[in-house]
């Protein structure tokens, strides 16, 4: 192919890629660079001043409460990912293999409906359900159980995380499972594999990419969520998003909040890259 044709082809490709590149630069790379730069700024008289000082990093890394919040957030997001993945799988399995395409479309549509309303409103509605005088405890009271404290606990936080992530994880898993080659399943069954063996050795490996992407989305959303740990967990103890709010609210320490935010970004990138590497590892293609 002549070199001029090749050049034209590159320009053509670039034209289509350009919007994505511009978008990423404007709304991801630009703010990220600014956030990193801001973490070195100083605050004087409630006003941010440009500087290149390590004070904010030293301050935050030297505080036990930062590390406590960091590991708590990691723990809660991991728990959320495990619970959501486990809860979503049977539902997604049923939708992918046990119902007709028409029913599946309707149920996926129903799973999308919660996203039409504000997450904050959905979270506040849990107050009525989980309060000590709420719906769940009233029902349990009929059979002589409770009341149990569910609000302002880690359980409450997890319920909030599920409100945010579970429908999405079910949808992603469903699409992933629905695309598994049915011939592979039939072949495994014909060779005498039990149902559990088919799931563990054929379906899950075949749908690995989608399952892992669903889990990654769940982790990312939970890790960065402010609403559930604040309103259903009672901010007790605070997660990193709450720590960011606390840091900015009192003393207006946006640079210190930027340190927390950068740490969150780094963590999420490590998790996402590791997960993607795992998802697309050679074993996945076998």
């Amino acid at each position: 192919m002549p070199s001029s044709d090749k050049k034209r082809l590159d320009y053509y490709a670039l034209t289509w890629r350009l919007p994505v590149i511009v978008w990423q630069v404007l709304f991801f790379v630009g703010p990220l660079v600014f956030m990193i730069a801001m973490s070195f700024f100083l605050v004087k008289n409630y006003r941010m001043t440009e500087a290149f000082e390590m004070k904010n990093w030293v301050k935050m890394f030297g505080k036990d409460y930062f590390w406590d919040s960091y590991f708590l957030t990691l723990l809660l997001a991991s728990m959320s990912t495990i619970v959501a993945t486990c809860l979503a799988f049977p539902a997604a399995y049923g939708l992918a293999f046990k119902v007709s395409g028409n029913v599946r479309r309707w149920i996926v549509f129903l799973l999308i409906i919660p996203f039409f309303t504000s997450y904050l409103v959905r979270t506040f509605s849990w107050y009525v359900i989980l309060a000590e005088s709420g719906v769940v405890n009233n029902i349990l009271g009929v059979i002589g159980l409770g009341p149990y404290t569910m609000l302002n606990t880690r359980f409450g936080t997890l319920v909030g995380y599920m409100t945010l992530t579970l429908p999405l994880v079910v949808i992603l898993q469903t699409f992933s499972l629905a695309n598994v080659d049915k011939n592979l399943i039939e072949a495994a069954q014909n060779l005498g594999a039990s149902r559990v063996k088919v799931i563990l050795q054929v379906i899950i490996p075949s749908a690995k990419v989608g399952l892992i992407i669903g889990a990654v989305f769940c982790f990312i959303l939970s890790f960065g969520d402010f609403v559930a740990p604040y309103y259903l967990g009672g901010s007790k103890p605070p997660t990193l998003p709450i720590l960011i709010i606390d840091t900015t609210k009192s003393g207006q320490q946006w640079p210190r909040a930027a340190v927390v935010a950068v740490m969150m970004m780094v963590t999420l990138m490590i998790v996402a890259f590791t997960a993607i590497k795992l998802a697309y590892s050679r074993k996945a293609y076998r």
Partner: protein, 379 residues
């Protein structure tokens, strides 16, 4: 024979659209004209001050429109101003303890003392509220205030128990004590519980500060959560929290009206006063009308609105306001002690020395207090 009119569907839609547009035009023009003529006043305030129950009557009478920007906490307010160009905010409702910082940063205009009814103030100390005057010049005027103490659910805490901050440590309240998520009021209360009432719970030395931190940490096992404005309301209303540290009647007053079995008292160790003051933003081109609004808020009508503000009630600062409140809603005046001789009369409590103005820490930095608050929340 008369020919039937040619009224196709397309013609009908076209004609009716034109007719509707023509009919609606005067209304649209009038509304736009009215909106265009209304002077827009940018307000920086705590939530509720720019809502219709507070400003609607003034807006209608003066053809102005308030455009509020709300904050939570004085340092949040300072940051919003610091990050905005001069003249962004025409009127600022400041926590009184932050007025001196607004003034030091040259964010507010000087006021004329003759414009305000200081001679009618319920307490002479309010006339010369700390930080409102500098070098004999007035920069802010107090418009409302309230007291913070023990807020509790009457089904879980008796009035006698609530007469001391000690009730927060009541074993039955384990996991049922909430905090309003702002360090100043809660730590101020812990300081009062430790006996730091002279000169102020916020003006304490190193040893006393260490002791306050120790006392606060001892409360941690009792704490069920840290809440913002909405969360505080909900948790008290649905019984999740049975006692709340860091608030007062500004929250429970609203809930009481709604029938919740809650109340707030100033305990024997003393209470903390929140104070809200109006300032005119530096460089505002609407200083005249803003000043008129401040005068309106200090008038009996404005004071009655303020005392019954939907978002959170506050005490009247003028005798005229108190008298008007008694006429307008005697029940509310009695409930809040805003009648002569009431044991919970706010001015009486101040004169008895039981009330301390909320302040920023005087011997530690705000950062020290805030850092400890983060540690406390994580404990």
């Amino acid at each position: 024979m008369t020919q039937a009119p040619d009224l196709s569907r397309r013609k009908f839609i076209k004609s009716s659209t034109i007719a509707t547009g023509a009919l609606a035009m005067p209304m649209i023009m009038t509304t736009r004209k009215a909106q265009a003529e209304a002077t827009e006043i940018n307000m920086l305030a705590w939530y509720g001050h720019g809502e219709p129950d507070m400003v609607e009557a003034f807006e209608a009478a003066n053809n102005v429109k308030f455009k509020p920007k709300y904050f939570a906490g004085g340092d949040n307010m300072l940051a919003l101003i610091a990050q905005s160009p001069p003249g962004t905010y025409d009127i600022i409702l400041s926590d009184a303890e932050f007025v001196q910082q607004l003034n030091a940063a040259d964010y507010i205009e000087e006021l004329n003392p003759d414009d305000y009814p200081f001679d009618d103030f319920t307490y002479e100390g309010f006339t010369e509220f700390p930080g409102h005057w500098k070098d004999g010049k007035l920069y802010s005027t107090m418009v409302r205030y309230g007291h913070l103490g023990v807020s509790y659910n009457k089904n879980a805490v008796t009035a006698e128990e609530a007469s001391s901050y000690k009730c927060f440590w009541k074993p039955e309240l384990a996991g049922k004590v909430g905090h309003f998520d702002w360090h100043l009021p809660s730590l101020g209360m812990m300081s009062l519980y430790n006996g730091n009432n002279s000169p102020s719970p916020f003006d304490i030395g190193g040893d006393a500060w260490d002791a306050v931190q120790k006392t606060t940490m001892e409360l941690r096992p009792q704490v069920g959560g840290f809440f913002d404005y909405g969360g505080t309301f909900n948790s008290l209303k649905n019984g999740e929290m049975m006692a709340m540290c860091g608030i007062g009647d500004w929250i429970t007053g609203v809930l009481e009206k709604d029938g919740a079995p809650v109340a707030s008292v100033v305990p024997k160790e003393g209470g903390i006063q929140w104070t809200e003051s109006y300032c005119i933003g530096k460089g505002s081109s609407k200083a005249e009308i803003v000043n008129k609004f401040i005068q309106y808020m200090l008038s009996p009508e404005g004071q009655v609105r303020s005392a019954q503000m939907a978002a959170y009630p506050g005490f009247c600062v003028t005798n005229g306001g108190m008298a008007a409140l008694q006429q307008d809603n005697m029940g509310e005046a009695e409930r809040t002690g805003q009648i002569a001789g009431a044991s919970n009369n706010p001015v009486t409590l101040i004169k008895e020395g039981r009330i301390h103005y909320r302040d920023i820490p005087r011997q530690q930095s705000l950062e020290d207090w805030n850092d400890f608050w983060s540690e406390y929340k994580n404990a």
